[in-house]
């Protein structure tokens, strides 16, 4: 296991966004320039931050020897790195903005505020009260002493987005600006179209913006473990690409599958849009020598980062309705107001999970260690692999034993089209091995913390007000209906 603060100490300018590729020079032939493919010579770069070095060999300076890099607990980080967060108003965008700003990065963000609109349309709202973006930025300035730049720009608005990128020249991008809801994407042709358009055109715009205005920046795109599906064969979910010793046999022949993209099996139009996003990124990195990391994130939950804990005015949004809430968050909310914890179908569906806090740590480590030019990297960002039933039981137990609640668990008809009994093995090694990640959370503590926050009067009231958005109605097969209870009062 790597020392968590040294995982990227040996990386060089080859991985750094501040570098500019100039060409090849052969000093055996008096520094002659070489532009064509057949040329001999030394690849030279210039550093945009340290112009005075002139042309140099990019492999000859390591992060730990470079004055532009600062040692942090997450590894060496480019001083004042310019990071642009797409979707900064969201559940993950806002905590990341705060964390990066506190680490000394220059944080820029955009958001089209669509999430707030769509949640309101549904008759729901964030159950942690949140102010406007301007108010939150003001609080961050006062309470954390950081400046965050925000523009209300839609990622799908090419002109505005390109202009902002050209102005800022980010050194890293975080693509969080996608509609993340599977049930939403299945509700109607309109919502499916909106999801696919927003997510794919947004990512496409980002790739072109990088190509034209920030080709040495790295990008981290939020993908989802759901891209892989859950193969009934029990094939483990490798991290995006087949390992070198994976072999395909057919008839008498065999072929190596090393490095090929692993099969995708998306279970909703939202997941389909993520799969396309993966291909968009994978291709663009190859065509344009871009640096990209595709994060196959497990279901994220929790609300517990040091920055978020500072003050309620720094809250991130917290959704609990059927369309916009993630399962563990929903279970806690249901327990708090005495609504039944709803398990879809058998409850044996297994997924990977990760807390917001751990996800933030991962993202920063990934930002600190950009890939090489042209490299498309994939990580499975998961810490715990659990079944829905186990989670419901854990939430209910904690609610009863520690918070004097009387939670009930119900199994209902599954509105989704998905396998309910399936093997599920997730390979999730890269973040630990290559990026020094070490989980700082555990499921039970995170659930406890959520109970504490959601039982505060302000939150409890908001959950009550959204009560009837808690129970799922949306069918994958189209339309809505009142789902039947298959088993009431499960033990826990």
């Amino acid at each position: 296991m790597t020392d968590p603060a040294q995982h990227n100490a040996g990386k060089t300018c080859w991985n750094c966004p501040a570098v500019e590729f100039k060409g090849h020079v052969d000093f055996r032939a008096c520094g002659q320039a070489a532009f064509s493919r057949a040329a001999e010579g030394q690849l030279v770069v210039e550093c945009k931050r340290r112009e005075e070095i002139g042309y140099f060999d990019p492999m000859s300076i390591t992060y730990d020897a470079c004055p532009e890099y600062e040692a942090t607990e997450f590894g060496y980080l480019l001083r004042g790195m310019r990071v642009m967060i797409l979707g900064m108003d969201g559940y993950l965008g806002w905590p990341l903005a705060l964390k990066l700003a506190k680490l000394g990065c220059q944080v820029f963000g955009i958001d089209n505020m669509l999430r707030r609109e769509l949640v309101a349309e549904r008759g729901a709202q964030s159950v942690l009260p949140i102010g406007s973006m301007q108010e939150r930025i003001e609080s961050a300035r006062e309470l954390l002493g950081v400046e965050i730049d925000f523009r209300p720009i839609d990622l799908c608005d090419r002109e505005e987005f390109f202009a902002y990128v050209e102005e800022v020249k980010p050194e890293a991008f975080v693509q969080y600006a996608e509609i993340p809801s599977a049930p939403y994407s299945m509700a109607s042709v309109e919502t499916a179209t909106k999801t696919i358009y927003n997510n794919n055109i947004g990512t496409l715009n980002l790739m072109f913006a990088m190509r034209d205005y920030a080709p040495e920046a790295s990008m981290i795109k939020l993908g989802t473990m759901g891209e892989y599906g859950s193969p009934l064969t029990g094939r483990p979910l490798f991290e995006g690409l087949f390992p070198g010793d994976a072999v395909l046999q057919h008839g008498d022949d065999e072929w190596s599958l090393g490095g090929e993209l692993v099969p995708r099996d998306p279970v909703s139009f939202y997941h389909v849009s993520k799969v396309q996003g993966t291909f968009t990124m994978y291709e663009s990195c190859k065509y344009w020598w871009l640096r990209g990391i595709d994060v196959m994130q497990g279901v994220v939950y929790g609300l517990h980062t040091p920055e978020l804990m500072t003050d309620p005015s720094l809250n991130t949004r917290f959704d609990i309705d059927e369309w916009w809430g993630t399962v563990i968050n929903r279970f806690v909310a249901q327990a708090v107001v005495g609504a039944p914890l709803t398990i879809f179908g058998s409850g044996n569906q297994i997924r990977g999970y990760i807390t917001v806090a751990d996800a933030m740590q991962c993202m920063i480590r990934l930002l600190a260690s950009p890939p090489e030019p042209g490299q498309y990297e994939v990580v499975n960002q998961v810490t715990d692999v659990l079944s829905v039933r186990e989670l419901a039981q854990t939430v209910a137990r904690i609610g009863r034993d520690e918070f004097d609640l009387t939670p009930t668990i119900q199994r209902i008809e599954n509105p989704r089209v998905e396998a309910e009994e399936h093997p599920y093995e997730v390979i999730h090694e890269k973040l630990e091995k290559d990026f020094g990640f070490s989980s700082q959370s555990n499921v039970e503590d995170e659930i406890r913390y959520m109970f504490k926050r959601l039982m505060e009067p302000s939150s409890r009231e908001l959950i009550e007000a959204s009560r009837d958005t808690l129970f799922p109605k949306t069918l994958w097969s189209g339309g809505e209906k009142t789902l039947e209870v298959v088993e009431a009062d499960l033990d826990y």
Partner: protein, 101 residues
């Protein structure tokens, strides 16, 4: 002077199979230690060499024995095929040369 055959792995950052094959190549390097040398050549940083050897696809695994190429394979390979490439060169190279000095 070393006369061991050389296994050259041509790779690039934008080639995912190249990266995924690394552990296999490393494993073979350990297994054949003392009998072959293993070199990894990044084609973007060594374009002249890559071009002179006519590297058209990545990864390319090339064996050299006695100063000439004894064979090459392009694309990710099963371990079996890589061993085949190496073993052929060991046979072609004749009995083991001098031990390392």
């Amino acid at each position: 002077m070393h006369h061991r055959p050389v296994f050259v792995d041509f790779w690039a950052s934008w080639c995912p199979p190249c990266k995924m094959m690394e552990p296999i190549v490393d494993r073979l390097a350990v297994e054949y230690e003392g009998r072959i040398r293993v070199a990894k050549v990044n084609v973007d940083r060594n374009r002249g060499l890559a071009d002179r050897l006519n590297i058209k696809g990545l990864p390319t695994y090339m064996m050299f024995a006695g100063g000439a190429s004894t064979g090459s394979l392009t694309a990710a390979q099963t371990e079996r095929k890589l061993r085949g490439l190496i073993d052929e060169a060991l046979i072609a190279g004749g009995p083991e040369g001098d031990t390392d000095g």
